[in-house]
Symmetry: C2
Subunit: 435 residues, 2 copies
């Protein structure tokens, strides 16, 4: 089966109208994505779909970047790719001309993720399995052969990665069955966006508790007094046994973060997320030391496995918030999942946006079944927006993600949604006076 | 004076035909740039020009990114920008939708550099001064007000930056006169590209010595035995008193780098450049400790001031290779120049490519006149390619950059070059069967 075309599209949802997703650094996002379709010559019509989440303006740049990979992808067979998946990944990330634009970071890497995830989606569809099961049933040697160990082998060499995977082979079937029966725990961010008023927040927190969520996350950063007031309000609405997380979305410098958390620590946060720049490994390490026992989390903006490696080496984080399309797709997430296991740091994936819940459920479930073997201190983020546009949307019930059942990576969008929200000519935009 | 348009163009030179610029990670670059012109309503016809160096394919993505800044730039007056230059810089780097694509790294930051440098070019032209002199004659308060201290103020606060600048006020006129009379020392990379054969390399090294260069840099990484042979050959051709630098262009992992330098150390390199991933602060720190006294250099791919901050904090580098358009233009280079001064690490800027020599001479000269006050262990890279396309090309004589005299940032290209090398429709490409 050969890939015969790579199509990249600009899809945007006008979420800024309702301030869904508003935080200290992103006051008015239009949740969007660069959406990639790989067509094949398969008589069954198999296609691979992948996307990278964006925030509105600039999506056209990620689309242009995805198109730049066309010559490196079209014409290859799926079998040749999956037989040497790390080799294919390196062709994309180390192209002698394109790598100048990263390397392995920012827009070119966001585009890499969309393309790479589309290949995995295709593979899982061909195998007739949801991605998490495809991954969980691969042999340890196959997982390791999909990882580019360049720049991480001083901390995780292929042999050690193999050992980590083999260690968890026993019990795999039991854990798969358990995930299928009970799903995976979730937490919600739908309540705490910065642009919402107090009444809306309190109502949403109570609604979340009723819906079975024990963990609720709030946005902080712009105004310490207001953050403290909202934290008290959410704590009250949560009641005893509720867990509150805080997310500063990189608003603070290192010293600011330490000062702010000395105040917000009074509300007993389970973690502080993105206290400062995602690039600042040493800054996170210092913040963590100084605000202990408050736990430090980051990851949605961590650019690649090299920064994750250092966050782990420097003991800078307590929680690793893996993103499915910030780093270079499934192959690079495998590297990060294994490094986290080595260092004993739990993964609580970043979700929300467009399609991130659909994506990361697979990664967390694979992590549980084949790598960490534990659900302790692990929850997947859940935001209840925009799922209706997916062919097989993620489903959360009683505070748990249900195991996906459809073959693929769950990221394929409905043709009518792709048409309606195409930017700038879809009907959602053509009349909006924005284009 | 108001900015009335932002024009961004894709300019490429077919350098891959001669393997100029070939190294371990970039075997066949086509030196290129995203070229930005800001037009104004000035009756004198003042324009600001800026570019970001690229490597061929993908330049169109950086051009798309530069265009995404149009609404944030067009309509502003130069005076309003320079009155609050840090504020303007943050408008570009922290736009609530665009920052998702970085933040402050990769393609969106390369584009930021082209736009920001075009503003500085415009300002220097309006003031009638070469950029280095404009910078050197600004008051310390004005320099500090151009810097965004977000994410670095735990290491360099505005007050300390002011002190560093005030410390060097005495002697400024003398150093300016000295630079004008004697220029700034250079080293050459023109001899050691990986794609050249031994005879060509030996001839080029002898030519460089004759031309007054004491320092010569060679590319290493792909083949240790071949690197050692070529190092011996260059050492012979250099003669006594010659200085040899090595550049691995990120080819190695941390352990590989340490092993390789135990062999290549026999040839007494003055530094090893880019021994591994530019993102790996802790990796550079470990390499530096283990291969001492060989000095470690990096910077051309260091994405922003946050990574530079950590390289300095972790004592990971001996030489800081500032780039003019990898990080976010003049404003961010000022932050890095000041941090380097605080830590006592010399800056030896990255040049070559397209326009990098033209750019960085200004930064190094400003550093000498107003910040470091020293030329010790400081040399600017020089590569003798593509200068003929600039209106005011950088000039090196007897191994020294001559101080630029024309107003601006020396980055304006000749209209006929912009036309000929426009991609894909300029005559250099239209007939080449590449477009």
């Amino acid at each position: 089966m050969k890939i015969v075309s790579l199509d990249a599209r600009d899809i945007r949802f006008p979420t800024s109208l309702s301030l869904d997703g508003s935080d200290a650094m992103h006051p008015d996002p239009d949740y969007s994505c660069a959406y990639v379709v790989l067509r094949t010559d398969s008589p069954d019509g198999h296609e691979g779909h992948g996307l990278t989440f964006t925030n509105g303006r600039g999506t056209e740049i990620v689309v242009a970047a995805a198109r730049a990979f066309e010559d490196l992808v079209v014409g290859r067979s799926l079998e040749a790719i999956t037989d040497d998946f790390a080799g294919f990944w390196r062709i994309l990330t180390s192209d002698g001309q394109l790598r100048w634009l990263g390397p392995e970071k920012g827009i070119i890497h966001l585009a890499t993720a969309a393309v790479v995830n589309a290949v995995w989606d295709l593979w899982a569809k061909v195998e007739g399995k949801p991605l998490y099961r495809l991954l969980a049933e691969l042999e340890p040697e196959q997982i390791v052969s999909a990882i580019d160990f360049r720049y991480i082998d001083d901390v995780l060499a292929p042999a050690e990665a193999l050992d980590l995977l083999r260690r968890m082979r026993p019990g795999r079937e039991t854990r798969l069955a358990e995930i299928e029966a009970n799903g995976y725990p979730a937490y919600t961010t739908s309540a705490g966006w910065l642009g919402y008023d107090d009444d809306k927040i309190a109502a949403l927190v109570r609604e979340a508790s009723t819906a079975g969520f024990k963990h609720v996350k709030m946005k902080v950063g712009r105004d310490l007094a207001a953050d403290a007031r909202r934290a008290g309000l959410i704590r009250d609405a949560l009641g005893a046994g509720g867990v509150l997380m805080m997310d500063a979305n990189q608003y603070w410098g290192v010293d600011d973060a330490i000062k702010a958390m000395r105040v917000l620590g009074l509300y007993d946060p389970w973690w502080i997320e993105e206290p400062t720049s995602p690039d600042d490994v040493l800054g996170h390490a210092r913040i963590r030391r100084e605000i202990a026992p408050i736990r430090v989390a980051t990851g949605e903006h961590v650019q690649n496995r090299v920064i994750f490696k250092q966050l782990l080496q420097a003991e800078a984080i307590d929680v690793l918030q893996l993103d499915a399309c910030r780093i270079g797709g499934v192959n690079e997430t495998l590297a990060v999942i294994l490094m986290a296991a080595k260092f004993g740091v739990p993964i609580c994936p970043h979700a929300g946006g467009v399609g991130l819940c659909e994506y990361v459920q697979h990664l967390a479930m694979f992590d549980y079944v084949a790598v960490s073997g534990s659900l302790e201190d692990r929850v997947i983020e859940w935001v209840d927006h925009l799922h209706e546009h997916f062919l097989h949307p993620a489903v959360v019930r009683d505070g748990r993600y249900l195991a996906p059942t459809a073959p693929g990576y769950s990221i394929e969008m409905l043709p009518e949604s792709l048409a309606e929200f195409a930017y700038p000519h879809g009907v959602a935009w053509a009349g909006a006076g924005v284009a």
